[in-house]
Amino acid sequence: MRFLFKTDYEDDIKLFPHSGYVVSYGILLALLLVAPYALSSYLMSQLVFVCIYATVGVALLILTGFTGQASLGHAAFLAIGAYTAAYLQEYNVPFPVYFLAAGLLTGIIGAMVGFPALRLTGIYLVIATISFALIVEEILARWESVTHGNEGMRVKALSLLGVTVPRDSPTFYYLCLAVLVLTIVGTLNLLRSPTGRAFVAIRDSETAARSMGVNVALYKVKSFAISAAITGLAGVLFAHKLSFISPEMFTLQLSIEFIIVILIGGTFSLHGAVLGAIFIVMIDPFLTYLKDDMPGIIAGIAAAFGAGPATAGSIQSSVAAFASLNGLKGAIYGIIIVLFVLFEPLGLYGRWLKIKLFFQLFPLYKRATFKRQKIYVKSERNR
C-alpha cells in the first residue's frame, strides 16, 4: 500500500497524485489512440457513442454529482446543441463556429433554467427539469420553420479545415475522444478551483456553504450553465454521429438514460461517467448477443447433463422464444437500475475501489468498511 505524504495544499489538489496515475492513464490513452486500427467498425461506432455519452455524463456529474442538483432534463440540452448545429450548418457556418455557438447557446439556456431552479430543491427540481425537457421537445416538434418539425433534420458530414470528416471515420472518433478528454481535464481543473469547491460545499450543505460566504445562487446558476454547455457540445457530435435528428430522439427516456449513466458508473467521481457510458452503450449489443447465442448454449448444457436431442431442441426453442419476447430488454433495464440502487449505490467505480482496497489490505479487509449505515427518515419539511 502506498502512502502519499502531503506537505501543502498544492500537493493535495495535484491532478496526478503520483507517477502511477501518469503511467496508467498514458497507457489507456495510447490504447484509445490505436483503437481504430484494431477494432471492427461496429465497435468503433459504439466507442464514439461511449465518448458522447461520457461527455454528457461528465456534464451531469458536475450538476448532479458535485453540486447536488438533480436534473431529468439533459436530453433537452443535448437537443438544443444538436439542433443549433443542424440549423447553422444549413447556412454553411464552419464547424468550429457552430460547435462553439451550440455550447454558448445551451450554456445561456442552462443559466436561464438555473435561475428558476434556485428556489427549488429535491423533487420539485426534478419535476421542473422534466417539464422544461417536455416543453423543449414540443417546441422542437412545432417550430417548423427552424426545426422542420417531426420530419426531422438531416445533418451533413462535418468539414474541418476544408476536409470532410465522415461520421464513421477514425478522425471523427479522434474528435469525439478529444472533446471527452478535454472535458474531463477541464472538469478536473474546475473541481480543484474555488468554483468546484463551492459546488461541493453546496451539495453537502447549502446552509453551511452560505454561512461560509459562498454565493449559493451564483454558483448554482454557474453549475447549470457549465453542465448545459458541455451537454450542448456533446449534442453537436451526437447530431453528426446520427446524421439525422428529430424531436422524438430527445425524450424523457434519453434523460433517464443519462442519469443511469452516472448512477451505474458512480456519482462521486468522473470515472463513473466513463464507466457508466461504457455500460449503457455496450449493454444493447451484449443483450443482442445473449439473445442470439444463449438458447444454443443452454441447450448444449442440457445435452451435457444427459438430455436427449429432442428435449434439448425443445429447451432451445423455448429459451429462444423467451429471449425474443417483446420488451424483455426494458425489463432487464429496470432490474439493473433497481439492483444498482439497492446493492451497489457507489456504482461500478465504487465496486472497483472496493476490489482495489481488498487487495491492498489483503488479509485485513473488513466487509463492513462499505456497509451502509441504518438511516431513519426525517422529514425534509422541518429538517
Binding site: 428556489r119 423533487i123 430488454k329 426494458g330 422529514s379
Partner: protein, 291 residues
C-alpha cells in the same frame, strides 16, 4: 358557452383521473417522504388485473374491481418490501431512480403478459349519457368525478381522524421518534403502499372506458399526474385533487381554444409558472430551514 361547459366537464373528469394518481403520490410522500415514480405504472397494472378478472375470467364488474384492488394492494406491499424499504431514508434521488427502474420493469412485463394492444373493460357506466338541457355528460366521466370525491374524502378522514392515519403522519415527520412512541413504522409504511396501490387501481379501472389500457398508459398519465401533485403541494390530499382538476381543465381548454400543440405543453407551462412564484405549490406548507 355550451362548448365551454362541455370542455370544463370533460376537463374536470380527466383532471380527476390525474388527481387520483396524484393522490397515490401524495399518500406515499406524506407517510415516507418517498416519491414513487412508478405510481402511474401501478395504475396500469391495476387496470390490467381488472381486465383479467372482468374481461378474461368473466367475473361481475364489482367483484372484479374489488379483486383487482385487493391484488394490487398486496402487490404494493411486496414492491415496498423489495424495492423501497432497503433504501428508505437514503437520498431521495436514489429512491426516485429505484422507482423509475421498477416502472420500467412493470411496463415491460405488462407488455409481455398482456400484449401491446389497447384493452377495454365493459363497465356499467360505459354506455349512456346524462342530458341536462342541451348539455351532454357521459356516465363514465361522471363516475370518475364521483369516485374521486368519495376517495378523497375517505382518505382525508383517514389521515386526519384515525389513529393509523396519525401514526402515518408521525412516521413521516420523524421515523425514529415514531419508533420511540411505539408506532410499528415498517407495518405503517407497508399499509401506506397498499393503500396507494389500491387508489392507483381505482384510477386504472375508472379510466379504462375513457382512455383504454395499454402498457404505456401509466407513463403518459403519470407524467401528467406529477404536475398535479406538485401544483397541489405534494403533501396535501385535497391539494392533489385540486391540482389534478386544474391540470385537466387547463389541458382540455388549451386543446380547445389554443393552437395545436399547446394541449400537451400547457400543464407544464402552468406548473413552471407556479413553481416560480410559489415553490411549495398552491397548498404546500411554507417551511423555513433550520441549521
Amino acid at each position: 358557452m355550451l362548448d365551454f361547459v362541455q370542455q370544463l366537464v370533460s376537463g374536470v373528469a380527466l383532471g380527476c383521473v390525474y388527481g387520483l394518481i396524484a393522490l397515490g403520490f401524495v399518500l406515499v410522500y406524506k407517510a415516507t417522504e418517498v416519491v414513487n415514480f412508478a405510481q402511474g405504472d401501478l395504475m396500469m397494472l391495476g387496470g390490467f388485473f381488472a381486465f383479467t378478472f372482468i374481461g378474461m375470467m368473466g367475473l361481475n364488474y364489482w367483484i372484479g374491481f374489488a379483486g383487482a384492488v385487493a391484488a394490487m394492494a398486496l402487490f404494493g406491499m411486496v414492491a415496498e418490501r423489495v424495492v423501497v424499504r432497503p433504501i428508505l431514508g437514503y437520498p431521495q434521488f436514489s429512491i426516485i431512480m429505484a422507482t423509475i427502474g421498477l416502472g420500467y420493469f412493470l411496463r415491460s412485463v405488462a407488455g409481455m403478459i398482456w400484449g401491446t394492444d389497447d384493452l377495454k373493460i365493459d363497465t356499467p357506466f360505459s354506455q349512456g349519457v346524462l342530458r341536462m338541457g342541451s348539455l351532454v355528460l357521459a356516465y363514465d366521466k361522471l363516475s370518475v368525478i364521483a369516485a374521486t370525491m368519495i376517495l378523497c374524502t375517505l382518505l382525508w378522514l383517514f389521515f386526519n381522524k384515525t389513529v393509523l392515519g396519525t401514526a402515518m403522519r408521525a412516521s413521516s415527520e420523524n421515523m425514529l421518534a415514531a419508533y420511540y412512541m411505539g408506532i410499528p413504522v415498517k407495518r405503517v409504511v407497508s399499509v401506506v403502499w397498499a393503500i396507494s396501490a389500491a387508489v392507483a387501481t381505482c384510477a386504472g379501472v375508472l379510466l379504462a372506458p375513457i382512455t383504454f389500457i395499454h402498457s404505456n398508459v401509466g407513463l403518459v398519465l403519470g407524467l401528467k399526474a406529477f404536475p398535479a401533485a406538485v401544483l397541489g403541494g405534494f403533501g396535501s390530499i385535497p391539494g392533489a385533487v385540486v391540482g389534478g382538476v386544474l391540470i385537466g381543465v387547463i389541458e382540455s381548454m388549451a386543446g380547445f381554444y389554443l393552437p395545436e400543440g399547446w394541449k400537451d405543453v400547457a400543464p407544464y407551462v402552468v406548473l413552471l409558472t407556479v413553481l416560480l412564484l410559489k415553490p411549495e405549490g398552491l397548498f404546500g406548507l411554507h417551511v423555513r430551514k433550520k441549521v
